[in-house]
Each structure stands twice: as C-alpha cells, then as structure tokens.
Symmetry: C3
Subunit: 162 residues, 3 copies
C-alpha cells in the first residue's frame, strides 16, 4: 500500500464569499470545518468497514484525502449548490460509493441529484444499498462565492487522540 | 519521503456511458479494472527501477497514485478517446516519463499523439528511450460518455499478496 | 494520520514552451527544478513549525505534495504569469497559508494579487502575519506556453540525506 487506507469518514459542507475565487474556496473550507488542512482530492470510494463519524478537528496542515464537489460563481444573485452522497452496501466487506455534484440551483435539487447518482452507481455494481447519507449547501452569490461539500477520509488513531 | 515511492506500475483503459458525467467516469474506471478505489491524480513520472506488471486487483477503497487522461462528452455520435504512454530510459537509474492525452477523435490518432508527447519529453531530457508502451480507448457517445486511460503506480508487496 | 505531515517547504517557479500543453507543463516543472517527480496537488496550508528551506533536489519519481498555480496559453504573444505566496503567522503553533494565482498579465501584477490573497486569508483567520514570501514567473507565448509557480512540502530526513 503506497498510502494507508482510511478507517473513518465524515461529511461536511460550507459556503462563502471571498476576495477572489480561491479566497472564497478557502473560506468555504473554514466554514465546513476542514480549513487549515491540505486537501488531497481523490475519487471516491468508502473502503470496506470504514466507519461514519461526526466531523472531528483535523491537525493543522495535515494531508487529508477528500472527495469533494465545489462550485464558484461571480454572477451576483445566482444560487449555487454542492452536495455529496455516500451509499453503503448491505455486505460490509464491499466498498461504499461516494458521489459529488455541484451546479447552479437550489440545494434540494442538487442533493436529490447526487443521491440518485449514488443509487445509480450502486445499481451498476449490483450492490444493495443499506444506507444512503448526504449533505448539501447552497449559496446566493454577492460578488464571488463558493459552495463546497466534502467527504473526508480519516483514521481511528487521529479520531481517538483529538 | 512524505509518501512511499511506488515500485510497480501498470496501464489500463476503459470507457462507458453513465447517468451523469461522474457516473460515466465511475463506470469507465470499473471497466478499466480500477473502480472501487480512490485515485489520487499525480503528474507523471515512473520512478527509476519501477517495474511494469500486468494489471492487478487493487484493494477496495485504497488510495492509488495514478496518472490519467479522461474526456467527457454529451454530444451524441461523437468519438472521444484517451491514451497514456510510458517512455523508459536506457539507463535504469533515471526516471521514465508518463504522458496522458485525450481529445475528440479516433483511438489510433490519440495514441499516436501521446506516444509522440512521450518521445518529445524524453528528447527534452536528453534520454534515449529503451521502451515505449501505450494504451488507448475510444468511445462513441450515446448520451453522456467518458473515455479514460491510466497508469497506476503500485508496490511489490501488494502485488505479491493479491 | 493517513499521510505524513511535511516539516519543510520551498518555493519555485518556471515557464516553458512545449510540443503540447502537457509537454509545456512538463518542461516548466523541469525548469522550476521539480521535474521528474510526481506532484500530488493539494490545498494549501503550511503546517505549524514547517520550515522554509532553499529548493532541494527531489528523488526521481517520488510523490510530492505541492500547492501550485499553472496557466497554459496558445495565443502567440500573450503574457501569462503564475505566482504563489506563503503567509506565516506570528504564533508558530498556528498554520500558515499558501495562495496560488495565475492569469494573463505581467508577473508583478500577478504576484501582487497573490500576496493580497494571502493577506486576506490571514485576516479572515484573525492571524497577524509575521512573514510573507512569494515567487512569480511570467512567459511570453510563442506557440504553446505554461507558467507555473509552486510551494513544495517536504520533510527533514530527505533534505538532510540529499
């Protein structure tokens, strides 16, 4: 294994305005509770037996494997939203599936889409869904805004220590 | 070393339709034999002495350093293709070079381009090529399609255990 | 911790023409002194107590956590530039902030923007800046050009060994 396989995961979301698109992204991460870390973007599986936990504080500057959806807009008044969904299989020896989606539009619509995406992905694998979790956030743009939703993969030791 | 340096690598490709672009990407990964993992995208070097192997099953949900090209299209009838090439130097103490390319067009054309890209990259380094491998895949879009080609970096222990 | 937290960092930049956009990117990395490695892109924090060093040679093919800005252009004559800034807090137990920015325009302008972005990000955190470092590079496009600026996170052992 080149990189350790995570044992725990949690879902977060946040949105913000910012001085520039990257500042708005940075601020959205802070609001989501995962700012001040180094997100390493990955595609998008929950390892078998990986456990859902409530969000925990992450050590400052740590490298954090994360699946996320993010959308930026500089159109004043526009509604943007991001959502992530996690579908877990009935058989715990199989992996779960993470889906990410962001678009213009209200939170309810974006979240419904991402849940359907996870359902379709599990159908493709022939796996019965035991549990389907999702979070979503929407944002009305003032000048430059970002909406972000993420699934953070982490590990037990860290969770216990913090 | 923050992350271990891989010792083995393999080339794969796959293409698929999907419910959304991300579902098509997910399905293309499954067809390529690297679905159900967490791809960590990286730029694009084969470490010295890293060995080419046939594709191996990857543990579900593992974090997998991968260089890949991916293209999405929702234009019915369009042909899209992705390819990766790996150029290895005569002197085994030097790194090899991975190139990725995807575009509209037939597989043969895209694969020829990516091979030329690898040749140019080795020329820039002043390294004589000992071996040049590539894979490519094309896809005719129905509604939403993805074509993906990847070089997966992995390590010996995993290969032996699986 | 899924991935080790880096202990040292350095700033680099480079620009180049290339046979294709990816070849130009590859050549820009070589000019920046971080070619022949596998950059793993991450968002964008300096861990507490992480120390600034002069650029060091990285082992060929190693996986290197990096925050970077990159811009590609194929418009002959266009000036493109990339910059990164690192803002460190007065209190060393807090993380520092990396910002990346690239755009059409001269180096001085892009670097000024990225420094302002770092200042805004620290203001948002309520942290007083002790030190603000940045690098930037510009490039006049001939056929296909890339300008790249990066903050590489690394660790002490490697620095001492090399």
């Amino acid at each position: 294994m080149i990189i350790k396989t995570p044992t725990h995961y949690f879902l977060v979301c946040g949105a913000s305005e910012g001085f520039t698109p990257l500042n708005a992204f940075d601020a959205a991460l802070l609001r989501a509770g995962i700012g001040d870390t180094n997100l390493v973007k990955m595609s998008s599986i929950v390892p078998p037996h990986c456990q859902l936990i409530a969000p925990v504080p992450l050590p400052g500057g740590s490298l954090v494997p994360t699946a996320y959806a993010s959308i930026t807009s500089d159109i004043p008044g526009e509604i943007i939203a991001s959502a992530v969904a996690v579908a877990l299989p009935e058989k715990p020896d199989y992996p779960g599936l993470i889906m990410e989606y962001s678009a213009r539009g209200p939170k309810a619509e974006i979240e419904e889409t991402v849940r359907q995406m996870a359902i379709e992905g599990m159908k493709l694998r022939g796996r019965v869904i035991k549990e389907l979790n999702s979070v979503a956030v929407e944002h009305r743009v003032k000048k430059v805004g970002v909406a972000l939703a993420a699934v953070v993969l982490w590990e037990k030791e860290e969770v216990e220590q913090d």
